[in-house]
């Protein structure tokens, strides 16, 4: 349960929203956002971009991974209003049915998922990893993908898929 703050204080604070401009998957929009709304909730509930998943809401699972200015972050740990001017890429922005991103195709070919719930986060995280340019070996990819949990245990297939794409780009 979240920490309780004094309800009287809460009620006394006028409910304000902060105009925030975000570019999401190439489309720039300005929204009046309540300061406590996370990027994750904004995407899922506000923008109907449900490809970004909520697995814990606490920065512990990676299901909510998106790219902000090319870097992978847990969107549940980021308040949307702090991202004014940022460029956000979600799974929907990486590729779409009929026009898959190489990681998306590789995930299909390697059966790198079962239930699919961690998958968008895994793919965004893998793209972030590729952007970082650090990981080359299987060992490194494993280590640097470890913030993305997969309860279905598709790990070895995920690493195969990611290595395929890293190999192609190398």
């Amino acid at each position: 349960m979240p920490t309780a703050v004094n309800s009287a204080t809460y009620a006394a604070v006028p409910i304000g929203t902060v105009p925030t401009t975000l570019t999401i998957n190439g489309e720039t929009r300005t929204r009046a956002i309540e300061p406590w709304t996370t990027l994750l909730d904004l995407l899922r509930e506000g923008e109907d971009l449900i490809g970004t998943k909520k697995g814990c809401d606490h920065g512990q699972c990676g299901a909510c991974t998106v790219l902000v200015d090319g870097r992978r972050i847990n969107s549940c740990l980021k308040l949307a209003v702090t991202l004014d001017g940022a460029e956000i890429t979600t799974i929907e922005g990486l590729g779409q049915p009929g026009d898959l991103h190489p990681l998306q195709s590789a995930f299909c070919d390697h059966d790198a998922f079962q239930c699919g719930y961690c998958t968008p986060g895994q793919i965004c995280s893998a793209q972030g990893l590729i952007n970082e340019g650090k990981a080359k070996t299987r060992e490194e990819v494993r280590e640097l993908m470890s913030g993305n949990l997969c309860r279905c245990g598709a790990y070895s297939n995920i690493i195969d898929a990611v290595l395929d794409v890293i190999g192609e780009q190398a």
Partner: protein, 748 residues
């Protein structure tokens, strides 16, 4: 142009729902867009047992955006008999009823639901609901509870009581070699990645549509109708995508009850989701203690098996599992006895979690077998072969098939088992100790009555449908492949529909019966369509197929083909056109006993596996890495080798968790799970998983189920933790009898 290789049963195709999953277009329960939605946030009990004295909602109601706070005091009418709350699993007892009265039966029990215009407002308001309790004494300590263990009078359906043979007590007393000990398994939580959630669309005409995270849309449908008094026609439950469940979604979970309750009270569409720590408020794998005593001759031949286990349940239901039967079935031994009891703790009722019973009982038993093998100074693999039973040794019945010997052979070869040096602590890699261990896995090959429909349209498109679920198990793909095989159509021309209570009847998806049962139903429905097609072809002028019967034709590339004269081919469209049909739709039911299944009626039906594990243990730090696993599985016919392999990988990974990581800790003073989040309840992550090789052993079995399929959802986890535990002993010389084997136990 050469015709492409026929795709059907046995083809390793990509998951047919893969594109939706990798593009984020697959919608899970809490993701269905509904207009004018209200959000619910669950308030949970802070005590483990007692009564609610008062609930002060004033502050919560003052939060802007809050619409209602629902408690047992202001909830709408709900059913009041236990019977109304019984679900498909029929666990004896008095099922939990959310917001029913002031009684608290377990910590984190839902006691109020805050409904607001936004998720954030509901969440905040929930934090300012003040609840006063009258607490009563509770006990969450299973080790204390076992003092009052008992055999439940009423048995859960599917429970098999162990059968004793010979005189195990005497044989154990007389045995020249003995191994005996108490083995333990910690409570584990399923923790599927998708949290439980439900979206309820209120249509305003007394009907509702519910998207729910469940393993059975029809189970939830029946539950909602019975609990809320809806007529069955007024409720539709959908679960087209389920973000994992592993057994936690077999019973309707309380968020769906709460969501429908709120929709009914407010006459609005609502969404209720749990948060991660609330995922620890319901189902969990029971904690277990298993006392195993084995006796053997100096040759390693077993002479006595004594196997007694107790698992945890709640105060209000007797959850039972088949824990003690596996060892008695699997080993040739003249004297064996077993006893199974449960003990009550003040938690929510424990629940089925991947391979319930076997993942506990077979795994712990296989740890004891390893001890006995060392006692007898026989190689652990050899020990299992010396005591191999080709028949079900507990029931004295033959198996429809048991290719475990082949699994051992193929697995051992792939692993390189013959290179193993027997002595513990005799293998090293730099500063790490290396250990190799093996174990046997076992699960039931089950079949459940299931219906399916198949609809062929004149443009050559086939739709197959069944109310089963795909919780990541590959049901969409299995249905597609069986349909492709039966009617000779390419997968691109086939749509599989599932996850909808309006579709033909299917049981909850669990127990590994899905592929065998749904597959058989789809095959029957497609065959019925085939028959209609053949009849329609008779209307074609000149009757090119003559008076061919079903046995005389096959279905290939969208044509009916004469087996004897394959050049005679009638396209489906031509046949339908001749008979003036725009579509053919058939529904069929596959019930146990049809096909060759009657021959297997009095036989035992099981899957088996041989698991080999390599661990590397840092001697100073006690850190264990599972560097290699080979799992050779004998599970009958494999419908899709690609998704089948993934199912086994998933089971093995969860087995790694069981061996090394997974444990939910209660704080007995509060009667509450302490580590209810992913930061502190550890599941395997990428870095924990190294090389896993899956082998499917050839095991044709026409008697087990109509397609010869045995199912794969559970077998991957059974025994895996034992192979790892046994490898840890081989590496370190230290015997740890309680799972998970955490660093402290190794360094202790």
């Amino acid at each position: 142009m050469a015709t492409a290789a026929k795709i059907g049963i046995g083809s390793a195709i990509n998951r047919v729902d893969g594109v939706e999953k990798v593009t984020g277009t697959a919608r899970y329960a809490a993701e269905h867009p509904v207009e004018n939605l209200l959000y619910g946030y669950i308030v949970e009990a802070a005590i483990a047992k007692g009564r609610i004295v008062s609930i002060d909602e004033e502050a919560a109601r003052a939060v802007p955006g809050v619409i209602e706070v629902i408690t047992h005091l202001n909830r709408p009418h709900v059913a009041w008999t236990d019977h109304s709350y019984q679900d498909e699993l029929k666990i004896p007892g008095s099922p939990f009823r959310p917001l029913y009265d002031d009684r608290i039966q377990f910590s984190q029990q839902p006691i109020a639901l805050v409904m607001a215009e936004t998720f954030e407002a509901a969440r905040y308001a929930a934090s300012v609901v003040e609840v006063a309790y009258a607490a009563e004494a509770h006990n969450t300590d299973f080790e204390v509870a076992v003092g009052d263990k008992y055999v439940p009078k009423k048995k859960r359906s599917g429970y098999t009581a162990p059968k004793n043979r010979g005189d195990a007590a005497q044989a154990f007393a007389d045995a020249p070699l003995k191994a005996a000990g108490d083995y333990r398994l910690a409570p584990e939580h399923h923790n599927p990645m998708e949290m439980f959630g439900s979206t309820v669309e209120w249509h305003g005409d007394g009907s509702i549509t519910v998207w729910d995270k469940t393993q059975g849309s029809q189970g939830v449908h029946a539950y909602l109708a019975s609990v809320f008094g809806f007529s069955k026609k007024k409720v539709r439950v959908l679960n087209p995508y389920v973000g994992g469940a592993f057994g936690s979604g077999l019973r309707p979970q309380h968020q769906v009850f709460l969501a429908v309750l709120a929709a009914k009270k407010l006459e609005r569409s609502v969404r209720v989701t749990m948060i991660r720590n609330q995922m620890f408020s319901h189902a969990y794998r029971p904690q277990a203690i298993q006392s195993i005593a084995l006796g053997a001759e100096t040759t390693g031949k077993l002479t006595a098996i004594r196997n007694a286990a107790t698992t945890s349940t709640s105060r209000y239901e007797d959850n039972m599992e088949n824990v003690v039967t596996w060892g008695l079935m699997n080993y040739d031994c003249p004297n064996a006895d077993a006893e199974y009891t449960v003990a009550q703790v003040d938690t929510a009722t424990s629940a089925d979690m991947r391979a319930p019973g076997a993942a506990t009982g077979m795994t712990l038993f296989e740890m004891a077998i390893d001890e006995m093998a060392y006692e007898a100074k026989v190689d652990p693999l050899e020990f299992r072969l010396v005591n191999y039973s080709p028949i079900d040794a507990m029931n004295g019945t033959p198996y429809t098939s048991k290719a475990l010997r082949e699994a051992f052979r193929e697995g051992a070869e792939a692993f390189g088992w013959s290179e193993r040096s027997a002595e513990p602590r005799s293998m090293r890699d730099g500063k790490e100790l290396v250990g190799w261990g093996c174990a046997t896995g076992m699960w039931d090959a089950q079949f459940s009555k299931t219906s399916a429909s198949a609809k062929l349209t004149a443009n050559g498109h086939l739709e197959v449908a069944c109310a089963t679920s795909d919780i990541g198990t590959g049901s969409y793909t299995v249905m597609t492949l069986v349909a492709a095989e039966t009617l000779g159509l390419p997968p691109e021309q086939i749509t599989a529909k599932l996850g909808d209570s309006d579709l033909p009847t299917a049981p909850v998806e669990g127990g590994s019966w899905g592929a065998a049962s749904t597959g058989a139903a789809v095959q029957l429905a497609c065959q019925a369509v085939g028959k209609k097609l053949l009849k329609a072809a008779g209307e074609i002028a000149g009757a090119p197929l003559g008076d061919a019967k079903m046995d005389d034709v096959l279905f290939e590339d969208g044509c009916i083909v004469l087996k004897d004269t394959p050049t005679v081919r009638v396209p489906f469209g031509d046949a339908m056109h001749a008979a003036d049909l725009t579509e053919i739709e058939e529904e069929e039911t596959a019930a146990p006993g049809f096909g060759d299944m009657w021959k297997g009626l009095h036989k035992s039906k099981n899957t088996h596996s041989a698991i080999f594990a390599e661990v590397k243990v840092d001697e100073e730090l006690g850190v264990v890495r599972v560097t290699r696993i080979v799992d050779a599985v004998a599970a009958g016919r494999i419908i899709n080798p690609k998704t089948a392999r993934s199912q086994i990988l998933g089971g093995v990974v969860m087995g790694v968790g069981m061996a090394l990581h997974e444990e939910t800790f209660p704080d007995h003073r509060l009667g509450r799970w302490m580590n209810h989040n992913f930061g502190e309840y550890h599941v395997p992550v990428h870095a924990d998983i190294h090389d896993i090789q899956v082998i499917f052993v050839d095991e044709p079995d026409p008697e087990v189920t109509p397609l010869g399929v045995k199912g794969l959802g559970e077998i991957g986890i059974v025994g895996t933790a034992a192979a790892i535990a046994n490898a840890i002993f081989h590496a370190t010389g230290k015997r740890v009898r309680s799972l998970p084997i955490t660093i402290d136990k190794i360094l202790d």
